[in-house]
């Protein structure tokens, strides 16, 4: 059902598959690329937000000394001043812009202050006093689910539920020789994009509103601003500024940031700048959902994988925001890329009184992949099998059914990634028998306390939004050729550092036979570009790519028609090769593509077209726990080599081998950039990063000196291995790469730690304190 251009090797390509220089590099290395904080507007005002100091409280009274504020030139706004609806739409519409009666997390916005300087806006805080009555709060998702008295979301605090059901899981456990059962905990991870959140709202009186800002999904912001201001969507323009990293953190949060700025601008009828400080950003914006996962695996001594049972409790924080979608991905990825006939996954998203958690690269999957891949290793260990061999027995191959019953009939490169990663890492040579704790202590006595270890994970990634997000799985594109032979294209997906502009430009160049250097992307402005759906779920290259292919195909036909007329050849007998238009049968070169475009222009032919794409169908039946969850799957094997100090518990990472089946590498250089960066972020998740909350629910690690991401000195050698098993639905066979580099690093790391010193962790990150405590526990258990 999909048109796939046959695409065999790089020799044929004009742009796709090449390491072409990034389109955005020139202005980024000079610092000229304008970020939100680099912009200024005449008469701009600044916004300060008065936020809840409590995790859960009733607002009794908001007293604002308007007289003094007026004399100072400061304007205050509360929920009552919102001209439209006090709702930030994401999925469930439970998230207000400004709290009115109840605050549900520390840092929740209650009042905004707008003034000519930030200093003045901050000073004006003292003229607003908010009276609260604290009410009991809950922070743990297991505790919050069905909480008898504390109610945050409807009656049971469960804002979303997904399940997987396959076979008979109890029968499966009964048939198992060994059953492994553990409870795991994963932390809140902060995106720590280097550019903090920020938006500037510029009103045109009360007629229309333009919002500039750092964001992933301008069309989300457009809807929220329109609904908050009670304006028609068409009167709200959102312009994305150069975005300094996002990783999911700028998916839904700019709805809030942009809307707060827009409300301020509406009230004062002047441009309003709202740039978050690092502390404000970490304390009050989304992070990766912390989770509790109960995981039970049954195997036979021969190595059969008999049953998998998983319970997932995602801590969503105070508002659902993206939780139903995040939970869907967690539920679908919970049993892993394996064949297993008996599976039961029960997944709950539970509201608590922490900051609302949200999208973060991997989107719910890293939380279940860490336990899942730990369990696979423990299962292999329990029957004395090499963990890579054990996985190889069970991984999905072409024609296999996933645990949720989807038959995958093509593009399954997992086995290839496993083989390549194992080969390049020297797995069998490096993998030494896991020591007993007595051996570790014996070596310590001889002064040898550093031990190496190597660990593995095999994962899959359901590409794009899948069945839960299918309504957004469409994409638009405009393409226009210019009389000088250059091409401009517009899509609504965004560049945030991942390299999308570059990759899409390569696709357009390839499709039209135009030099890559002559292709330009229009900056994303919702009034000028089509809605291509959100820039999430590793979908931009594929979905915007497909829409661009659709547009380019139309444009090619328009060009061929004019050429056919002029050269008196058959329009169906024309092709593009090496930037030239030629007759297929005679292979005669007719003219360059640039000249053909000039010809179309002179002939008053159509030079601008729109493309559209709808994702292949997906369907998930949550009652049955079965369905075609995603259009396609990407696959990956990670191998991590560590050195552990068994006395101190420090874990140094020596190497990461990351083998990814991406279908097709449109640009191997930017692809490697994604693998390297994602792997390091995954390493951060597994080894270093953890948001610490106070017992009152406030973020304690609120700056980059207490929330620690890896520096150059923690970074191992990262070996990117690209596997291309094409997917017929993707442009040139591509499947996306944004998220999977992060997803499987944590368990490969903890499995390597286990191999080095013989201890297992049920909680990440693998801090020295945790590794050391696990070693001490084992010493006590085994009384050595």
């Amino acid at each position: 059902m999909f048109l796939v251009k046959e695409f065999s090797s790089e020799v044929d390509s004009m742009a796709v598959g090449k390491r072409l220089k990034r389109k955005d590099a020139d202005t980024k290395v000079t610092g000229e690329a304008p970020y939100a904080y680099d912009m200024s507007f005449a008469d701009e005002q600044y916004l300060a937000v008065i936020r809840s100091p409590y995790a859960h409280a009733r607002i009794v009274n908001i007293a604002i000394d308007y007289k003094i504020l007026e004399s100072l030139g400061v304007v205050a706004g509360t929920a009552k001043d919102i001209p439209g609806k006090n709702i930030l739409h994401v999925i469930l519409d439970d998230w207000p812009l400004l709290a009115e009666k109840v605050v549900r997390h520390v840092g929740e916005p209650v009042v905004i202050l707008v003034a000519a300087s930030l200093h003045l806006a901050e000073e004006a805080r003292k003229y607003v006093s908010i009276e609260y009555i604290e009410i009991p709060a809950v922070f743990d998702p297991v505790e919050a689910k069905d909480h008898p008295t504390i109610q945050i979301f409807e009656e049971n605090n469960v804002c979303s539920y997904w399940q997987q059901k396959n076979g008979d899981v109890e029968k499966g456990f009964a048939e198992s020789d060994i059953v492994i059962e553990n409870e795991y905990r994963t932390p809140a991870q902060e995106h720590a994009y280097i550019e903090t959140q920020g938006c500037i709202a510029v009103p045109q009186g009360h007629d229309s509103m333009t919002v500039y800002g750092s964001m992933q999904c301008p069309f989300y912001v457009q809807r929220c601003v329109a609904e908050i201001l009670g304006m028609e969507w068409s009167k709200v323009n959102i312009i994305q500024t150069t975005t300094g990293g996002a990783f999911g953190g700028k998916e839904d949060v700019p709805n809030q940031v942009g809307s707060l700025a827009a409300l301020g601008a509406w009230l004062v009828r002047k441009p309003v700048k709202f740039l978050l400080t690092r502390e404000e950003d970490i304390e009050t914006t989304s992070k990766r959902h912390p989770a509790v996962i109960r995981y039970k695996t049954g195997v036979t001594k021969q190595g059969e994988l008999k049953a998998i049972k998983v319970e997932v409790f995602l801590n969503t924080g105070a508002y659902a925001t993206l939780a139903p979608a995040v939970l869907y991905r967690a539920a679908m990825h919970a049993a892993g890329p394996y064949r297993c006939g008996n599976v039961d996954v029960q997944a709950y998203a539970v509201t608590t009184n922490l900051v609302p958690f949200g999208a973060f690269r991997g989107f719910g999957s890293p939380q279940v992949i860490f336990p899942g891949e730990e369990q696979m290793d423990r299962a292999a260990e329990s029957i004395g099998m090499d963990p890579s061999d054990f996985r190889e027995l069970h991984i999905l191959k072409v024609g296999d059914k996933t645990t949720f019953g989807q038959v995958i009939d093509q593009s399954v490169g997992l086995e290839q990634t496993l083989h390549k990663a194992r080969e390049q890492s020297g797995w069998y040579k490096k993998r030494k028998p896991t020591p007993t704790i007595a051996q570790v202590l014996e070596e310590q006595k001889k002064g040898k306390y550093r031990r190496k270890g190597i660990g593995i994970s095999t994962i899959f990634y359901g590409c794009f939004l899948g069945a839960a997000g299918k309504l957004m799985s469409r994409s638009g594109a405009y393409v226009q050729v210019e009389p000088d032979g250059s091409v401009r294209f517009a899509v609504g997906t965004t560049e945030m550092g991942q390299g999308m502009i570059t990759v899409l430009s390569q696709i357009v160049a390839e499709e039209l036979g135009i030099e890559y250097e002559k292709v330009y992307m229009t900056p994303v402005d919702t009034s000028r570009v089509p809605d291509s759906g959100p820039t999430v779920a590793s979908r931009a290259t594929i979905m915007s790519g497909r829409a661009l292919q659709d547009a380019c195909k139309q444009l090619r036909t328009l060009i061929y028609d004019k050429v056919a007329l002029k050269y008196e050849v058959d329009a169906t007998d024309i092709e593009i090769k090496e930037f030239q238009i030629q007759e297929i049968t005679t292979q005669k070169k007719l003219l360059s593509v640039s000249d053909a475009i000039k010809l179309v222009y002179q002939e008053r032919g159509q030079i601008a077209v729109a493309g559209w794409d709808v994702a292949p169908p997906t369907h998930y039946d949550n009652e049955k726990g079965q369905g075609d969850a995603y259009s396609a799957y990407a696959w990956c094997t990670n191998i991590v080599e560590v050195e552990v100090d068994s006395q101190i518990g420090t874990v140094d990472i020596l190497n990461i081998w990351a083998a990814h089946d991406v279908g097709k590498a449109i640009n191997p250089q930017t692809l490697e950039g994604q693998i390297e960066g994602g792997s390091l972020q995954g390493l951060g998740y597994g080894r270093y990063e953890e948001i610490i909350f106070t017992p009152e629910g406030r973020v304690l690690s609120n700056n980059l000196g207490t929330y620690l991401i890896p520096t150059t000195k923690e970074t191992p050698k990262i070996h990117s291995i690209i596997v291309e098993d094409p997917w017929s639905g993707g442009p040139y066979g591509a499947k996306g790469i944004g998220e999977q580099p992060l997803m499987g690093i944590a368990p490969a790391l903890t499995n390597a730690i286990a191999n080095a010193v013989g201890v297992r962790l049920n909680t990440i990150p693998a801090t020295p304190e945790r590794v050391w405590a696990a070693i001490q526990e084992k010493i006590e258990e085994e009384k050595v």
Binding site: I648, T712, T767
Partner: protein, 288 residues
């Protein structure tokens, strides 16, 4: 961002006069890596936007001197200067080891040793070695100058014992001949991070290497200030230096240390690590 008034004298005399006049309403500013962060984050007295006494226009406060028995370091000397100084490299190698892992090149190019001393953080990398060296701090006022032992100068986390009109004008590190000096720190990250536990040792073996003639052990991040492990020091000085003694010392220092749980680590781990780190340094000495 900063609304503090700043006074920038060009001589020490002038600086002392200003301090004498403003007393507790003015705070000295050298490298600023800590002071400016404290002011920005409105921490404690820094939140009141105090007047800042900028010392950077007094070039005479920038010196590293070697005298017969001491190394003297001026208040404007940065970490990078110390790292590059042959005097420090020769006489206080453990300090070089400590400084080389502070922050990042950016921070080391700005931050000063005197700033470290005056900020009195129990986790400061440089302080453990300064304690092991029985370093002295020179405090000057308009009409007075005195040397105070560092352990009397620092009284608590962020707290120092200085007259309200006084400025620190010199750090005096005694030379130690024939000593083996070492410093080990554990941290959450290898760059841009703060100490979880640290230990500095200065040890003098007897000629026949059978005993410790002297040993000074100081611990960082296990108490409100850097502390000397005096009981462990006594144990090590009063017995034959053997493997067996090292094991006893490991146990004793764990016993002796009183760390807390905070954002960076927990009490149990910190306590255990004092033993592991001391053991490593002592075994190194024994094997040489």
């Amino acid at each position: 961002m900063y609304s503090n008034e700043i006074l920038s004298p060009t001589s020490l005399k002038e600086a002392l006069a200003i301090k004498d006049q403003y007393v507790n309403d003015i705070f000295p500013l050298a490298g600023g890596t800590d002071v400016l962060v404290m002011v920005r984050n409105k921490l404690g007295v820094w939140g009141e936007s105090p007047v800042l006494l900028n010392l950077n226009n007094i070039p005479k406060l920038n010196f590293i001197l070697e005298t017969d028995s001491n190394i003297e370091i001026g208040p404007l000397v940065t970490h990078t200067q110390l790292l590059e100084s042959p005097i420090i490299q020769k006489h206080v190698p453990a300090l070089i080891k400590a400084i080389s892992i502070i922050g990042s090149p950016q921070i080391r190019n700005l931050g000063t040793l005197t700033g470290n001393v005056c900020r009195a953080s129990p986790a400061a990398d440089t302080l453990a070695t300064l304690y092991a060296r029985d370093t002295q701090v020179q405090i000057q006022t308009v009409n007075n100058s005195k040397l105070v032992p560092i352990k009397e100068f620092i009284t608590g986390p962020g707290q120092i014992n200085i007259p309200e009109n006084g400025l620190v004008t010199k750090i005096v590190i005694p030379k130690l001949e024939g000593y083996f000096g070492d410093y080990i720190s554990l941290r959450q990250r290898y760059a841009l991070s703060i100490v979880v536990v640290s230990i500095a040792v200065e040890a003098l073996l007897s000629k026949d290497r059978s005993r410790m003639d002297d040993i000074r052990i100081s611990l960082g991040a296990v108490a409100p200030t850097i502390v000397r492990a005096t009981k462990t020091e006594i144990l090590l000085k009063s017995n034959a230096f053997t493997k067996n003694l090292i094991e006893k010392a490991e146990k004793m220092i764990i016993e002796e240390s009183r760390p807390i749980t905070d954002i960076r680590s927990n009490k149990r781990y910190r306590k255990a690590m004092t033993g592991v780190l001391l053991g490593r340094i002592l075994r190194e000495i024994l094997s040489h």
